[in-house]
Subunit: 337 residues, 4 copies
Amino acid sequence: MIVVMKKNANPNDVEAVKNKIVDMGLEVYESIGLNYHIIGMVGDTSKVDSEVFERIEGVEKVIHVQEPYKKAGRLFHPEDSIITVGGRTIGGKKLAIIAGPCSVESREQILEVAEKVKEAGAGFLRGGAFKPRTSPYSFQGLKEEGIELLKEARERTGLPIVVELMSPDKLDLFERDVDVIQIGARNMQNFELLKAVGKTTKPILLKRGLSATIEELLMAAEYIMAGGNENVILCERGIRTFETYTRNTLDLSAIPVIKKQSHLPVIVDPSHAAGIWWMVEPLAKAAVAVGADGLMIEVHNDPQNALSDGNQSIKPEKFQHLMESIREIAKLQGREI
Amino acid sequence: MIVVMKKNANPNDVEAVKNKIVDMGLEVYESIGLNYHIIGMVGDTSKVDSEVFERIEGVEKVIHVQEPYKKAGRLFHPEDSIITVGGRTIGGKKLAIIAGPCSVESREQILEVAEKVKEAGAGFLRGGAFKPRTSPYSFQGLKEEGIELLKEARERTGLPIVVELMSPDKLDLFERDVDVIQIGARNMQNFELLKAVGKTTKPILLKRGLSATIEELLMAAEYIMAGGNENVILCERGIRTFETYTRNTLDLSAIPVIKKQSHLPVIVDPSHAAGIWWMVEPLAKAAVAVGADGLMIEVHNDPQNALSDGNQSIKPEKFQHLMESIREIAKLQGREI
Amino acid sequence: MIVVMKKNANPNDVEAVKNKIVDMGLEVYESIGLNYHIIGMVGDTSKVDSEVFERIEGVEKVIHVQEPYKKAGRLFHPEDSIITVGGRTIGGKKLAIIAGPCSVESREQILEVAEKVKEAGAGFLRGGAFKPRTSPYSFQGLKEEGIELLKEARERTGLPIVVELMSPDKLDLFERDVDVIQIGARNMQNFELLKAVGKTTKPILLKRGLSATIEELLMAAEYIMAGGNENVILCERGIRTFETYTRNTLDLSAIPVIKKQSHLPVIVDPSHAAGIWWMVEPLAKAAVAVGADGLMIEVHNDPQNALSDGNQSIKPEKFQHLMESIREIAKLQGREI
Amino acid sequence: MIVVMKKNANPNDVEAVKNKIVDMGLEVYESIGLNYHIIGMVGDTSKVDSEVFERIEGVEKVIHVQEPYKKAGRLFHPEDSIITVGGRTIGGKKLAIIAGPCSVESREQILEVAEKVKEAGAGFLRGGAFKPRTSPYSFQGLKEEGIELLKEARERTGLPIVVELMSPDKLDLFERDVDVIQIGARNMQNFELLKAVGKTTKPILLKRGLSATIEELLMAAEYIMAGGNENVILCERGIRTFETYTRNTLDLSAIPVIKKQSHLPVIVDPSHAAGIWWMVEPLAKAAVAVGADGLMIEVHNDPQNALSDGNQSIKPEKFQHLMESIREIAKLQGREI
């Protein structure tokens, strides 16, 4: 971290900056030029709050040199993390394919979709039980009943289940019944929820917020990991841009960036990103080609009558086609499905 | 969706419309004026076929209301809402000035700031007890102890207290001890939290999300109001843009838009928007000039040593100067402080 | 606006529709299929009253075409456009690979890079002669001398050259000496420049603006095409988002959208999008997997000493590796290099 | 400027960085910590291109300390600039009020509007002759004839005229006939146009680009000033955000930032920002309250039949009302109209 002093800053302010640095157990270095005066600090600054300096009057600005995350970063954890879920893995050579409907709607629906996605080669079953909806008047999910139906689908197919948690008060239920706990995009900075899931050991699938930077996503992961739970899987699901044709803009360049900055596995959700079913397959192929560790795909047996997000769901037959397409690209990447 | 009945429509037709709405599992609301008779429906109308109503003889026309919010909208509530808080009001002729430190840090600090902002003319005291921080390593607030100190400050000054709630499990505490419950920008679409505060009757100060549209803000208000709590105050606090000089970009054009679309009071927080103390006063003046119903200002007795957001806090003397500046503009607007 | 005639409409009615369009100062265009007969109008239809047509008996319906572009759209031009450049094509089965340095810097540099990218399989040579730079103090290009050096490189290698035009006053020079005229992202809505290149017949490579929507990109293409030049190649090169790790965010979902909305070929520039050399190859692979018609890659023999954008340039050896990687993915897509 | 080296960077790269700094006539300073290695440079770095360092392999990142603009900056020009236009000034105590129609449409229209805005107190007349339009099929302006009509309006009223220039080839005409040359938002980074107007001495009104940062706006001003023309007036006219109710989001916090960073005068265009006529007055008031040096307002005698942007134009009577409202706020600011 580097503190840039104002031109002609009060010497007391310069002294105050230096004293604060020393108080933190860090070393000071200083550089005075014609038009500026810079004070740097040597040592581990990853937990230093830059505001401590910004509010001193003589300070022009404070510049970060080190990333503000540590447990999520690759610097101190150079090996890729591989998360184990019910005998399966996320993050290794094998791509993790998570598929299923946006919402669990009925026993027939979830059982049918689960068997179909399993046949096609999916490794995990997704399904919403508690649904975050923009309107209070929209279908909010089957809730506890949805979890029960997912458990039945798991029993039938052997697929571990991935379900979104929206509030800390359901954590006990999720810990007991769910295999991967999903934190949705709108809750990426719901810090109380992050702290709550930091206390469990269940794998957490953390979705990138709608307008979050990669650093903010990694800081959200840091929240969970700082609580003690290092089983975090990241998910790129599209960010908000000015483009209106697609619901969000899938940021595929985030994948190589995250792989470089972090050891955590990262998967891609092309269904939510585009919001348009016929774009799911080309985006899934691109995601594999760019190096993603897995995919999350919405599959519904009857998209036209889906209670949520039918427009972005594909039918089981199309999912099977998608799986065949990505299998070949995965091979070129030295990966498998 | 709104059904406009013909003037002097047959009462049986009015009944038929209402019955159809109820049969769809929606709620009816009705508004009868001198020249019109409107029947609205509350619930998910996105799949309702308007022809169902158009066929009924007494129906003049069926309007697809573009706005997906109803309780928060001005259409059925043309009068400005005025929220009453401990004998004071938010939303009327008098501007609501909420001031205080970002975080409660100590008894001395909060008592001193409370007295100073009261002297300068503030009507409400703000102070964070549970703090949402981007880094898990930053100061997270004094929590319950912070609430106790705010209560003491309230006793001393008579100022109602405004405190941010981050998780439903603290709602009982807040209902008992706090006067206005704040929902922060990062929780604007934390739907479980919105549902929770929809069940209380305490006034809710709802901040606009970092990249939320005005419609999304009003939908978040709708969540709270649909739960039964109509005491919602909106707050513009800056949105994320590409500009990096300021922390966020204060969207002052949102104020006239919100005043047109909604009956709810709307205030402006220039401190969080800019993130820079010397910009607070000019932005506060502009906020009053554009028609805001109030301001939320961060004031700290010792910004250089504040534990959070010191960089955007002003000292009590500067706050007093700000109050004098806006008093004159308020007068030009036909308002008072 | 499009008028759909009834099947077997009276020829007099067809005539009436056309006459009305001409009377409005608009141009008529017509498309007759097995099962339809469509009459379109070219010009500003935003104030045309659709009832004028609906009253005519032979008219089936009048469609407000949401898209404001026509010549660039697929509706009246369902076949993919293939642009021919010096015996080579852009837009067909064969991927167009355009490679070369950001700026032409010296005879040695451009000749060496040209030969190396040709060997690796590139089909076109790029090189900047007039450079758009954010700072007036940065290197602005070799200008006319740069064009001369590019011509020499073309003679040696046979590769057609792609060069950016920044101002209409150089158009004569470019028409004579250059094979594909590039319009840069910052000039995407420089309407005078678009009009100017609409009058030539040279192929135009049109880059998407930094915060432009796909519709705006297609409207910029429409400007060129409305001037008479239908040889337009589109280029996705990243859009501005809040992400700061990469220079821009490559919007790969734009590719399937553009392929659906327009008949024009579309290529991807991963070098400018990311701004980071090691991300070029994974993004290039993803671009091919998602369906792009080609790539534009910055290659420099000595990136460390490049006069512009060295940070995003790859060396010839890395380019060769990239070509091998994408060749395999291209095969899976039923394409070749 | 500070160069952060990668951990374990090759010593040759470290040496290369230091040599480059010394070659530029700057001094080196160095700081080596546990996890980083920093090399700083002392001297005037405002014209140093950071890419020179970024492309050296051992370099992690380059951090700017100084602003990249110089002539536009306040550092070396602490006094406010005041631009003189035909005996009037922009930038001093008196607010510059520029008013008139979006496009000149007819002799009657421009003469009527000119007289009305003069009566109401405007100091300058605006009017578009060459119009940048998103669609090639929209009205493109009266061109040279429009300039002639503006000249006639100037003769009648004495108001200097402000007209947008879109291409360098019309510069001679504009130098001869126009008082202030406007560069539109879409041309803010049309560098050839900026260079062209840098060679005249006419005042330039430079509008902020749709998604430009303040630094980019100041760099565009720097382009003009580096060419020799220091008579630059900046204009905030709204930036692109996710909000869809307004056309753009007026960034009023940009005003105090620009006043702090630059000595150039800055005005506000609320008409283009909001795109909605009834928002013009409240935003104009806020602009004056926040410290703008002037306003640019669209006024049309018959907005419903305007050939462009009628929706954002106000009638002369409303303009008069606006002038009265802002006069009082100006007084509070110690300014006059």
